[in-house]
Symmetry: C2
Subunit: 391 residues, 2 copies
């Protein structure tokens, strides 16, 4: 603690640092900004009368997403939850399975597993990336599972562990090399929940393109938005075709006949939402640059605040800095709620990480490994105002 | 057959009658029209930056829907399938249940039952309304079910028949008095699939307001559209609250904490789609009048065509005439495919009714009653161009 700050409480210092960067206006955690072709494309959409699930903006949005992320195929759907639901179904997840997901995630990850009738199996996250701790997961699987007929079986439940779903928390890429190796060694399919990480790269490759499939979200609080929306990324043409089929009620092509060959979903993104997405995607690079600049300014402002650090992108990664995050030192963990109260009270919106999944009523009985890393993190993380429009 | 038409085939006469009404341009089955405040509201939505699942247009759309339909509460969701899924869950449908639905419906009805883990039990439809045949259903339930502890049990499967979901086919109200009596007498909860019948009234009361809950759709092909969208109608405040809760990830209200008390869904309608809906709803009366006028013109044009009748709203009902429908006489049923081919070949889009649900692969093994009425109808129904913009 230096001479200038020693007379101020941690809350006062944190508010001071945030105000130094964003000014004295009140600020929400994340809000969208529409400064490109949004109006133009929406009008074009209305004029064409194609507002629903068929239309050129859906095709274009999918094309543009694939081009941006480097995935061979993108399938646009109504939201990130729907994307993950379909990706898990296509990964073969059924009601007799378990799916490894971080305890430290938004509830959509666990819900999507539940929609397949499967059971979430909660795994720990690491301080370095906020993502699944690959080494600890390997240790857990080594001691608690066995291979039978090429499948990973949880010895305690006798269920197949079918998939592993790392999530790129607040936009920071998880340890993909480590996780891919674990998935490979234990015969588990890897599906990435990249809902928060559009524009984030792990070793130069876009998040969401490492697993069999990856999923994105364009909810109103995300880096770019379509109102509500999501997408499935995959390099596998057959999976992309099947995802399109399943998300459009599994109707077989025919000029007038309505034949559906499996239980399908009404999950395709409407054209009007895709129109918004096309315009937003055109501005993504600018938004990413602004979010990086916001990080730099926060970093400078927080340099002199003791007891707290600003989360920096993991090594060899490029983060979209979706939500800027303060990490309290362990000794300051008891300050978290006071910090949340103080900041929100003065109009600076802040938020802790989500309540860990195994602490939620519907998931209390689900299997889990030791979660000390996640427990420690959740006591110490605080998201601060992160909109690209703050720059 | 009169002297003027006797030298023309049925297909030529049908095309002639349709062309007489809609002119020589090609015509799709149903397309939306945006001639009101759509653009104004979309722009307002963008300017406010509230495009996602919180925003004033969502609240307003729900208020306006309730006012229009006479339901006490309306909950706006991403589409009609999601509306039905949640309505069935709230009606207590679980994986050990069966749900009575018409075999003659769009696949969404059956899919929503499946999402609850329950089994569709297919029932027959009647010529008079295209809806569930109440008398025949009563007879089926009398002979095949028994009451145990106040629940209706299918004797063959030993499953509880939890709900009955009539659907108002092509906008024509089903026999609600008859169906409500059956539901009451057999202790079955009635949930209405009113996806096709916004603006349709049974004995002066809006469809979707008779059961415990009713559901609407605003897909691009419906009478009004929000791109993709749907709604749950109910007079029960607690059910409406619970529907809102379930469709917004079951998150408990708190300034920053993310606690979810049950497995929820990401099903709320985005504000940008609701903005479109508010503008469309303002024009609903005009659209309904145009669709009625289109019916009258078709009626006049088809008066002299033998072997086919134009479906008229059931007695004491007011239909929205969502899809205008030709009903072939039984002797002409073998002409259906030729009529479909001939009309579509000249740019007049027509369509048969959906393939009956029990004939679809995923539902082949589901329980069903005698479906002779539906089988007969599906061989003889043809929808013809029905857009309100044709007037």
């Amino acid at each position: 603690m230096n001479a200038l700050t020693q007379h101020f409480s941690l809350a006062e210092q944190v508010i001071g640092a945030i105000r130094f960067v964003i000014g004295s206006d009140s600020a929400v955690l994340h809000e969208p900004k529409f400064s490109g072709n949004e109006w133009c494309y929406l009008k074009e959409c209305l004029d064409s009368t194609f507002v629903s699930s068929v239309g050129k903006f859906v095709d274009r949005f999918e094309h543009d997403l694939a081009a941006f992320t480097g995935a061979r195929h993108a399938v646009a759907v109504v939201n990130g939850t729907a994307a993950l639901h379909i990706a898990l179904k296509l990964a073969g997840v059924t009601s007799s399975d378990e799916v490894l997901i971080p305890a430290l995630t938004f509830v959509a990850t666990a819900n999507a597993v539940s929609y397949c009738g499967a059971t979430p199996h909660f795994v720990d996250s690491e301080e370095r990336t906020f993502g699944v701790d690959a080494e600890k997961l390997r240790d857990h699987l080594t001691h608690n599972t066995e291979q039978r007929a090429g499948q990973c079986i949880n010895r305690a439940t006798e269920k197949i562990i079918r998939a592993l779903v790392p999530m790129h928390t607040f936009g920071h890429p998880a340890d993909m090399d480590g996780l891919l190796a674990v998935a490979h060694d234990f015969n588990i399919t890897l599906v990435e929940d990249a809902a928060e990480s559009l524009g984030s790269y792990y070793h130069g490759r876009h998040t969401g393109t490492f697993g069999l499939m990856g999923t994105l979200s364009f909810n109103g609080n995300k880096t770019i938005t379509t109102g509500g929306g999501g997408a499935i990324l995959t390099d596998n043409a057959e999976l992309a075709r099947h995802a399109r089929h399943l998300t459009t009620t599994a109707k077989l092509p025919h000029p007038w006949e309505y034949r559906h060959d499996e239980i399908g979903y009404n999950y395709r993104m409407p054209n009007i939402n895709a129109a918004l997405g096309c315009a937003q995607l055109e501005q993504l690079s600018l938004k990413l640059a602004a979010k990086k600049e916001l990080y730099e300014r926060y970093r400078a402002a927080f340099a002199s605040v003791s007891g707290v650090r600003l989360m920096k992108e993991p090594e060899n990664c490029q983060s979209n800095y979706w939500l800027q995050t303060l990490v309290l030192e362990s000794a300051q963990a008891d300050q978290r709620d006071l910090l949340l109260q103080s900041t929100n009270a003065v109009g600076v919106m802040t938020r802790p990480a989500w309540i860990l999944m195994h602490d939620l009523e519907p998931f209390k009985e689900c299997p889990r490994m030791d979660l000390d890393g996640s427990r420690s993190l959740v006591k110490r993380l605080i998201n601060i105002p992160s909109s690209s429009g703050l720059i």
